[in-house]
């Protein structure tokens, strides 16, 4: 496989192609006849995915940042279009390119008006997301960060539900507020570094090497970055935009929002906020604040999810809970906790993506998301019931499926530093089962007593096609996550080392007579 890819000079163009393909697709979709727009979009996203899939083999699992390229953009300001890929961004990119075609295919029936505009925005959104994960220049990152914001705003605002305007504006204001703060922090950091080194550059490596130049400003700059990313994650108490955005967004919007966009927040912490200012991030009081907020988010999200009458809101709040695990893992400070955090990011992407698709499929049939409106669907939609059960089980962390790996590693790896936080966070396994299996109960089990539900048809071939890759990923990642874990290890190790704190307690201490051979 690698020989074939090398013969295509794969390494030279792949990162550019990943951003350019969706961008090129935008005019194609806009120029296509209204009826064909979705097929064009599907073709473009499929092509992007196929091209990106080569990374699985071509990516060097033993190396860190690779495929680096930098094209001068505004040399006067030290800005260049610099991109690269490491074990952290690799899976975020693959997750995005996988969900691209699925989101398009999943929108086939849901989106019935202004299709061209919708699919063009979808492609812009994907380009923005991929760009965010690839950017190795802070200015480029900021641009992509803003680019993805705008299509999502329109997707919610135009194709959303009844209260879409409120949700869209809330989403926009929240995120935009954060990103403005981040912009200020970026400029300040660049300025400080430029003053110290005499070189004006937005380049990631340059800033990372010289971030210490921020000096007394470091806590403020970290705070600005952290706030921007915390809103995106979202970390409690900045989460209230999420349930509204999800409930109003069309299915594919929710899928992309939950599966990929939220991860920009945690990715931002891992790529920028923490490595730039490790002493601030991992020192007191920040680490205490973050860990406490993470644990609150884990339990709070789950408890509030438990009492939601609307299935989509339930899943939205469950995202707050899952992303809390990612935050805990990042601050857990061990290889296991950081890799666990990355695994939660991927696993949540697959299972929550699948859940939102399933909710969309229910909604397309019954035009309601109220749990009370359903019941006994397993009798008329057995395949739907089976898939929903499997995905729900993955989401609540049943071992053997993908949700378990990440949560287990996060908790295992964080126990050394934060035993109390881990014990409290582990309580969520009870609440998670309560909210998701409780919902399952109301949807597919009990009596099929509503006449509207009795004629429902099971999943169509297209719908199965949308879900199948996600289900396969859920099972595969749960049983044999080794290939993924090995690919992300160098990058995770680099992060752990970069964020290491000299005064923080050690990750793991073996009691008694040393280590026992595994």
């Amino acid at each position: 496989m690698n020989g074939f890819l090398d013969s295509l000079n794969y390494g030279q163009w792949i990162l550019h192609a990943l951003v350019l393909l969706p961008v090129i697709g935008i005019p194609l979709v806009l120029l296509a006849p209204e009826r064909l727009a979705k097929h064009v979009a599907l073709g473009v996203t499929l092509l992007t995915f196929v091209v990106s899939a080569g990374l699985w083999w071509h990516f060097d699992p033993s190396a860190g940042m690779q495929y680096r390229t930098a094209i001068p953009w505004m040399p006067r300001w030290g800005i260049s279009y610099a991109v690269g890929l490491d074990g952290i961004s690799l899976f975020m990119v693959l997750l995005t390119t996988l969900l691209g075609p699925l989101s398009v295919l999943g929108s086939y029936r849901y989106i019935t008006e202004r299709e061209r505009g919708y699919y063009a925005l979808m492609l812009a959104l994907l380009a923005g997301l991929i760009g965010c994960f690839l950017a190795l220049d802070l200015f480029v990152f900021y641009v992509f960060f803003e680019i993805m914001l705008i299509p999502m705003y329109f997707i919610i605002g135009i194709w959303g539900g009844a209260n879409r305007l409120y949700a869209a504006i809330k989403f926009f204001v929240y995120t935009f507020f954060g990103s403005l703060l981040m912009l200020v922090a970026i400029i300040a950091l660049v300025w400080k570094v430029a003053l110290a080194t005499g070189e004006l550059s937005f380049g990631y490596d340059h800033l990372l090497r010289n971030a210490a130049a921020a000096g007394d400003l470091a806590p403020w700059l970290f705070a600005a970055f952290a706030l921007a990313f915390a809103i995106k994650v979202p970390v409690f108490p900045f989460h209230t935009w999420l349930p509204d955005a999800h409930v109003e967004a069309p299915t594919a919007g929710s899928v992309i929002l939950a599966s990929v966009m939220l991860k920009i927040g945690t990715y931002g912490f891992m790529r920028f906020a923490v490595p730039f200012f490790p002493d601030v991030a991992m020192g007191d009081p920040v680490r205490t604040i973050i860990v406490v907020l993470a644990v609150i988010g884990i339990l709070y999200g789950a408890l509030v999810a438990m009492v939601q009458p609307d299935f989509k809101k339930l899943v939205a709040y469950s995202s707050v809970s899952h992303l809390g695990f990612v935050m805990l893992g990042i601050w857990g400070g061990t290889l296991a906790s950081v890799q666990g955090a990355l695994m939660v990011m991927i696993a949540h992407g697959l299972s929550t993506g699948a859940l939102f698709f399933l909710i969309g499929m229910m909604y397309e049939r019954r035009h309601t998301r109220e749990l009370a409106e359903y019941g006994g669907l397993a009798r008329v939609m057995p395949v739907f019931g089976m898939v929903l059960t499997l995905v729900a089980l993955a989401s609540i962390g049943l071992p053997g499926l993908n949700g378990f790996i990440g949560e287990f590693l996060v908790l295992l790896g964080s126990f050394g530093r934060y035993p109390a936080a881990v014990v409290i966070a582990t309580l969520v396994v009870i609440v998670a089962a309560a909210y998701l299996l409780g919902a399952l109960q109301k949807i597919i089990y009990t009596r099929l007593d509503r006449p509207e539900n009795q004629g429902l048809t099971d999943l169509t071939f297209r719908e199965v096609l949308v879900l199948l890759p996600l289900v396969a990923g859920i099972v595969w990642m749960g049983l044999a996550p080794g290939p993924i874990l090995r690919r992300m290890e160098p990058a995770a190790r680099a992060f752990v080392e970069a964020s290491a704190q000299t005064d923080a307690p050690a990750g793991r201490t073996v009691l008694g007579q040393g280590e026992v051979a595994p």
Binding site: L183, W220, P237, R379, P399, L437, Y445, R508, P518
Partner: protein
């Protein structure tokens, strides 16, 4: 009798196979039932499906797995292996120095568990052909049942705590699916959910135990953890060891239905009866006992944890037995009986008598599976009779039965064997295992007097066991028939496919005690010697080292008391039940006094609901969601400023908002620069 011939064939096959033969095929025991799950699962999606394929595939995969298990057992016996055989397949979680393998461990303990699960499992699968034949979810039933066995085998074969945990959670899932098998009835689905949730409380404990164990030992596979424990005897009775053991035991109380997490098991009887026999009596619920026995070195290093284990076991044994006295649903009696018997097993493993615990686990699997399947036959026949006459009487209520011995003699005699076994009457299987547990508890009393109390509680529970079992048998099979004149015409013995598995279990209930016959009865304690490589590793540890069975006069006295108590209980149970005419449910007066407390199961469910479940849900809805989320954060912090800006700043702002995007960008940049200036000071 198919299983016996198969066992012989397997023995021949094992003798012929080279080392590595059957044991290296152990993955088949998991994969075969899993393949059965896939086949039956796919068949269940097809609306009209022939039941023949299901009837063949469902039990066949189990019997094949049993054959492998038998062959592996004989191979292991020939090997005289002192160390466990670890079969590694792939690395599950490779993360730095945590290289968690997807690996199975085969040793003397897993060999026993494997035989019980596949053996009893095969019989119950065969029984289910008859029991579930008429159900429209026939294929789905076998799919779940096969999946359960696959997970159960992961549980008993897993070589590390996390791999065991896959099986642990997997069996919980299957239990959930099977309890709620008839999910169109809301109560069934709710019972399944309750079982899963209560088990998750236990799983929380298990997870924390794993985290703490990894933190302390740096490993999670059994071999390395045991090595670490034995290399560090100075850690005995330290807080960390006790904490790990107690968190792990919390997991056991969930899965094995002990106080305070036992409440799900009686509700679990909502599932089809073969499920109750397989999952909620013979196999899954004993997983907690298996876990403690598997971690015997860990528990042996904590006196406190061991006393807690034995204490909870004793309390549960007694408490559940009292409730069993006053239940009328035949399956509910057996459910509380199971909770109570599991309590015995925990007395054993808490006492440090790990072999006795496993011994009782095995014999209990035989006689309790038999009791459940027998009750299943009764319910099956009752149901048919009531159905034929369109009666709405409860097919499981013993007050509607009576005198069934006339129509179901085989079932009666077989269940009688199991009753004698569970009541501890010699020479039936339960006598030897229960007696051993009580004797060990008594012996432990010398060093830790609280065990005399546990012994007394166990003895009292034994008395109650005999009483409620005699009551069950008397109400069901003896006395006048209360089913109704018309219904009587339809009563008959269960079909052969349902009685033959019972015959095998009946045989095992009679002779099962032979696997660990004490010297007193002329035996050589085979199970003790067999499990020596597993349970003997901790012999140097204080908790296990000081434990010796009483000998001479004390031994005879203990045996004599136990037998007398059992016999007296049986007599009392029959006498008190048949003393007065039994009234059918609609004619029965409400319970009074302590009987009412027992009939209502001490109102524990209501207490949990009132003081735990409802406050949490109320807090989540009223405080967290409505007040915090909607009120405080959204209302005050988000929408508040938005309102102010709209009504105050908005007036000024609208002057600027002339729709020129360019102007926005300029303002935006100016603002950013201004903030920057301020920030940089």
């Amino acid at each position: 009798m198919p299983t016996a011939t198969l066992a012989q064939e397997a023995a021949v096959a094992a003798a012929a196979s080279a080392p590595g033969g059957a044991i290296s095929l152990l993955w088949l025991t998991i994969l075969l039932p899993f393949a059965g799950f896939l086949v039956n699962g796919l068949l269940s999606l097809r609306r009209s499906t022939s039941k023949t394929t299901v009837s063949v595939v469902g039990p066949a995969v189990l019997i094949a797995a049993f054959v492998v298990a038998v062959a592996a057992f004989f191979q292991l016996r020939g090997l005289h292996a002192e160390a466990p055989i670890v079969l590694r397949y792939w690395t599950w979680m490779p993360v730095g120095d945590l290289q968690l393998e997807m690996a199975l461990q085969y040793d003397q303990l897993s060999a026993i568990m494997l035989l019980v699960v596949t053996g009893v499992g095969s019989l119950i699968h065969l029984f289910s052909i008859g029991y579930m034949r008429a159900d429209e979810g026939y294929a789905r039933f076998f799919a779940y049942l096969n999946l359960f066995v696959a997970f159960m085998l992961v549980l008993v074969l897993g070589a590390s705590y996390p791999v065991l945990f896959i099986g642990w959670e997997g069996v919980g899932l299957c239990s959930y699916l099977l309890i709620g098998f008839w999910f169109t009835v809301k109560e069934n689905a709710a019972a399944g959910l309750k079982a899963f949730l209560v088990n998750r409380i236990g799983d929380f404990g298990f997870l924390v135990a794993m985290f703490a164990l990894y933190q302390a030992a740096g490993a999670l596979d059994f071999v390395a953890v045991n090595q670490w424990l034995l290399a560090n005897p100075q850690l005995a009775n330290t807080g960390i060891i006790t904490a790990i053991a107690l968190f792990m035991f919390l997991g056991c109380t969930g899965k094995s239905a002990q106080i305070p997490l036992y409440t799900w098991l009686p509700d679990a009887m909502a599932g089809p009866t073969p499920v109750s026999a397989l999952i909620h009596a013979a196999t899954m619920v004993t997983a907690g006992v298996y876990l403690v026995a598997r971690s015997n070195v860990l528990f042996a290093m904590s006196e406190t944890a061991s006393i807690v284990v034995a204490g909870v076991g004793a309390l549960t044994a007694l408490f559940a037995a009292t409730i069993g006295l006053r239940q009328y649903d035949i399956k509910k009696v057996l459910a509380y009986s199971t909770v109570s018997q599991l309590g015995y097993m925990f007395i054993a493993v808490g006492t440090g008598a790990y072999v006795a615990g496993i011994f009782h686990l095995v014999t209990h699997a035989f006689f309790k599976a038999l009791l459940f399947l027998g009750s299943g036959s009764v319910i099956h026949v009752m149901h048919e009779a009531l159905h034929a006459t369109h009666s709405h009487a409860d097919a499981q209520d013993m007050r509607n039965m009576g005198g069934l011995r006339r129509w179901m003699p085989t079932t009666f005699w077989l269940m009688l064997l199991a009753t004698l076994a569970i009541a501890g009457i010699p020479p039936f299987a339960g006598f030897f295992s229960k007696d051993e547990i009580l004797a060990f508890a008594f012996a432990r009393g010398e060093a830790a007097p609280v065990f005399y109390l546990f012994y007394g509680m166990g003895l009292l529970a034994a008395l109650l066991t005999a009483i409620y079992m005699a009551r069950l048998m008397a109400m069901t099979f003896l006395g006048e028939n209360r089913t109704g004149a018309a219904e009587q015409q339809h009563l008959h013995e269960a079909p052969a496919i349902m009685t033959w598995p019972l015959v095998v279990l009946g045989l095992l209930s009679v002779i099962g005690g032979a696997i660990n016959l004490p010297h007193l009865a002329g035996g050589n304690e085979w199970l003790h010697h067999w499990l020596e490589p597993v349970t003997g590793t901790g012999h140097g540890l204080p908790w296990v080292a000081s434990l010796h069975l009483p000998e001479g006069a004390t031994e005879y006295a203990l045996v004599g008391i136990a037998v007398l108590v059992g016999a007296f209980g049986l007599w009392l149970g029959i006498r008190s039940t048949l003393a007065r005419p039994i009234l059918t449910p609609d004619a029965a007066p409400p319970e009074r006094g302590f009987a009412r407390v027992l009939a209502n199961k001490y109102w524990v469910d209501e207490l949990y609901d009132r003081f735990i479940v409802r406050p949490i849900v109320g807090l989540s809805r009223g405080f967290l969601w409505k007040f915090m989320d909607k009120g405080l954060i959204d209302g005050a912090a988000v929408n508040g400023p938005a309102w102010i800006s709209r009504h105050v700043l908005g007036k000024a702002g609208s002057l600027l908002q002339n729709g020129q995007v360019g102007l926005y960008v300029i303002f935006f940049l100016l603002g950013a620069l201004w903030i920057l200036r301020v920030a940089l000071g």
